[in-house]
Symmetry: C2
Subunit: 335 residues, 2 copies
Amino acid sequence: MVTAGAGGLAIDAGDVRDAARLILGAAVLTPLLEYAPLNDRLGHRVLVKFEGAQHTGSFKFRGAYNRLARLSPAERRAGVVAWSSGNHAQGVAAAARLLGMPATIVMPADAPAVKRANTRALGAAIVPYDRLTGSREEIATALARDRGATLVPSFDDPCVIAGQGTIGLEILAQADAAGARIGRVLVCCGGGGLVAGIATAIKAQAPAIAIHPVEPAAFDDTARSLASGRRETVPADARSICDALLAPSPGALTFPINRALLSAGLTVTDAEVKAAMRYAFSTCKLVTEPGGAVALAAALHGKAPPADGATVIVISGANVDPAEFAAILGENDGM
Amino acid sequence: MVTAGAGGLAIDAGDVRDAARLILGAAVLTPLLEYAPLNDRLGHRVLVKFEGAQHTGSFKFRGAYNRLARLSPAERRAGVVAWSSGNHAQGVAAAARLLGMPATIVMPADAPAVKRANTRALGAAIVPYDRLTGSREEIATALARDRGATLVPSFDDPCVIAGQGTIGLEILAQADAAGARIGRVLVCCGGGGLVAGIATAIKAQAPAIAIHPVEPAAFDDTARSLASGRRETVPADARSICDALLAPSPGALTFPINRALLSAGLTVTDAEVKAAMRYAFSTCKLVTEPGGAVALAAALHGKAPPADGATVIVISGANVDPAEFAAILGENDGM
């Protein structure tokens, strides 16, 4: 059972350990990889946590499973509803299928085709909406209410945050096994659930490690919120190729955690993200989606302040349409 | 020191264990990954050994390092010469740089640009030749003789075979840690050094595991040689997109090992290889080169006979030009 964390935060490190016990055997223990050219480029050890190898190709399965596995038999029968641009959708659909419950996902009509197709293939029903005119929260909330189903938020939920935090526990254990002393961890940030969970897990054991959220430059709400101390919002006309990171403001539950635990927010341009995707292809031999590559982009483009010890980069997802990936490979802007 | 193996074979399992001790810390312990959709598709557990994460993006670093690290100080000063379409070139270049010795590589003029560029970036000198009219062996042998340098064969060398075999030891340990009982291992086969090394390592500990070599259909020399019992050759006009697997006949040292240890040879078409590369992209989130994807292609297209236990697939390399990869992603032949 997730309890209120220390200092009124939504979760504490014990909740992450609980989540790790619950998802053991259900989630993939993803690899922590190291590449000599990346070490050479940054001048110190760099470790890459590859969540593309997680079920459904992103970290989202962890939080979804940690939420859904705690539902009662009656709640399971009524099913779950979520809204998502794609990765949370797939994570919820996969967890629901594994646990034998129906899932309905409210998805933007312009979500990447691969994310829609995969969500459907996992047995979930999809309700499309127009991202520019509709409110996915209202649609999903109404659906859940009508059916007596459980709404599964994509980041602002204690179980979801704790589930994503299991990545932090794995990073600590895997870096230790690799003989690496971590100086800083770079994590993508949309609504802030992943970085909040990871920070909760890591800071409890190693408070000296700096955790930096990384956002698309046009969606720098968490960076600005960390600087101002209150939840800032990006303009409604903001755009980025990072479809997984388009949350307009930090979460009500995630921001207090992030304000308490994170170092400065970093931002990267779409061009830097594309260059990072090409680097991941050519050097790491890994597929990344735009939102999944922002932490690598920040590292490659020197966005993080100096720190003693190794840099850990979380590659959070790899669900990208083949045509988009091919187009990005074909661009060459000299970065 | 590599000794003659049992029964007059070039190596035995002790040589692979020696190699593992020598390359420990120098080579990457690459991950053994598992994907639920791949398990579902094959109807049993499938484990993917991803050598794309090895130094230089293929398994070749292992054998090269195991050969070069045994050279005397005088031999190291004189340097090494190798011939290769690209992956062995990069493996030798990286090992030579790590060990501080000069390397010269004889490469076909039509080798993938990424492999030539990477070999050069690793500090090796490149001597191009025409693959259809020149003899790379003669050119390299003459170069080595003139310089007093050591020739490093790409597969027909005991140290090289033993070095590649370290993958087999890792597979056994990693599958054990994952609680998997292996039924069969599918390994790409050009000259046969990789599969000979892996078979030597695995058969010594687990003789019931079937090891299948996988070749491009047009380069089925090992499959036919295993069937006939003698070294067969493919026609000189044979062609395949699998640039890493174009050896025209089994090696003099590798074939006796493979004849003694391997199960039937499997073959895949170029179209099946491309479909496997797309599958690795979309489901495994891994970059593969054509020759690196043949074992996955064999598994996906039902080429391996039934076996009890898990299937292990070795993805042996991921050095592919972005333009070629993008073109393959863009094809859709319904496979």
